[in-house]
Symmetry: C2
């Protein structure tokens, strides 16, 4: 297992610079007064493909040799990683193969196709997905880019917090959502090198708190199909992200479904930005742990902006909502 270094982050930053935005950092007087902290929101919802994942995906795509690249890239994901990989592959002019369950929402399929991805459908089961994915790889020779358990991806995600510390002086802490742990691992990788005094908090839905339980147990615990409105955060840690989480994270804080939805709505209402439920988990945890963050300068990673505008979560009751 190759563990990426900070030099990999520097190299990634240079490599992806033409294809990704240096996203802005926004502040809100209202949210500062509400939390008692100084919050600095790193707005990856304004990123290409509206997701931080385009950083890691671009690093993987543009790091390939011409020979490798010609065979394309492949992944199985129906979320922001698929969009991001399709975007990056499109910029390099190479194929991007995405294996998705035939039952995935048409909107998600359309989004991947909109970025130029080629979808191969599988049955909605792990065995079918693995079988179909193996076929696609065998037929195309495409390079598999895992959504997070890949050193190229983690080094790419690390460029986000590298920018954040360039943009905001004197941060005391950074809070970012945790699902599989790609963003948090990149954050750990960068901050442990360039700003080792900054505390790193991961924020997770209570209903998908496998990372928090792993953190306390000292080994990876994976849940089977957790249900949460923060649908980007359902996947488990893997060995590479576990390395960074277990070594560098200060704590993993959790929030309920209703707290996540409330924080999301509050951000839309007061900051006037569109972001997805996963991005609201950090603010939700800050609001319920004011004692930790009061008086501190806190970076908050808004990870993405891909949300179904026809079905916003404050307009329906969640299955397990309070």
């Amino acid at each position: 297992m190759y563990i990426p270094t900070f030099q990999d982050v520097i190299d990634a930053h240079e490599r992806i610079r033409p294809y990704v935005h240096r996203t802005p950092v926004l502040t809100s007087t209202f949210l500062n007064e509400l939390t008692g902290a100084e919050l600095f929101f790193k707005c990856e919802n304004f990123q290409k493909a509206a997701a931080f994942k385009v950083r890691g995906a671009s690093n993987a795509v543009f790091g390939l040799s011409d020979e490798m690249a010609a065979r394309g890239v492949a992944t199985h994901s129906s979320g922001n990683h698929a969009l991001s990989l399709a975007y990056a592959a499109g910029r390099r002019g190479i194929p991007c193969h995405v294996v998705m369950p035939r039952t995935a929402p048409q909107a998600k399929k359309d989004a991947v196709i909109g970025y130029g991805g080629k979808i191969t459908e599988c049955e909605p089961s792990t065995s079918s997905r693995e079988e179909v994915f193996a076929q696609v790889q065998a037929q195309t020779g495409a390079d598999f880019v895992h959504p997070y358990n890949d050193p190229r991806v983690i080094a790419g995600q690390g460029t986000c917090s590298r920018e954040l510390v360039e943009q905001v002086e004197g941060l005391d802490a950074v809070v970012a959502p945790i699902g599989g742990g790609g963003m948090i691992s990149g954050t750990c990788l960068s901050l442990s090198n360039i700003a080792p005094g900054v505390k790193i908090y991961a924020a997770e839905p209570e209903q998908a708190d496998d990372a928090a339980r792993s953190f306390r147990a000292g080994h990876i615990i994976a849940d089977d199909a957790p249900v949460t409105v923060a649908d980007g955060l359902k996947v488990p840690l893997k060995e590479l992200t576990w390395h960074f989480v277990s070594n560098h994270v200060t704590d993993i804080l959790t929030a309920s479904e209703q707290e996540i939805i409330d924080a999301m709505r509050l951000t839309w209402a007061r900051m006037k930005i569109v972001m997805e439920p996963s991005s609201a988990v950090p603010l939700a945890t800050i609001l319920k742990n004011k004692d930790i963050f009061a008086g501190k300068r806190v970076g908050v990673v808004i990870t993405g902006g891909n949300v179904d505008l026809d079905s916003l979560p404050w307009m329906y009751k969640t299955e397990q909502g309070e």
Copy 2:
């Protein structure tokens, strides 16, 4: 009738600078490709009180003598002007009286109160509003700040396009929504002085097209209670705004309700920003008049971000929607 000069805009800018944001200008590769133009969105939805109207309101409030200011300011509005005036008065520490119909939505009343405004309710009729407003003024001596037909307000709004031409070089045109004409008048005032080659287009809902009809007729035409989703744009021109519109506007373009809603949804979906329906009218008119704007560098004023997140217009059919 005092007609404000560009020196008034410069003075306003100096006066209000501590209380308002120099808002960012955003771009969208997707919308550029869709329209064939280069669009530069001036994001007043990120402004204090989430509305450009805080510029004019702040100029009025902070331009008062201490003696005048002590008696407060007053207006009758249930929209962004009331919020903005309450915000500005709050920053100066003086009272802001707002006369609103008792039938106005509680959310709008709460918003004004949230910014520190004092509401006096009237019956939902023009005669009651005028009577109650006269009483409030007589009792308090508060200074009346009209939402748009006031030289202080127009000079304040002019600071927006002054910033825009500082932020974007070589603009060919600016498109801004038109209701009473305060933003457009400020735009005319600034651009005719500092960038006289820039064409100024006003954008108006078809269903509240009194300004477009006035423009063609050569005199003010006022409609009685037009119905449009762009609820900030229902009010008629007045003599001061008519002066600027009739002298400096290149054309007034209109869009249907469905075109406005589609443009609003498109902006949310692709730019990841929350803005109100009125702010979508410019993009709607650009999309249906691509021949006018193709190949041009076009400033687009996003006027505000105050919208009911529980009831977004693409989720219901408008009364007169297509």
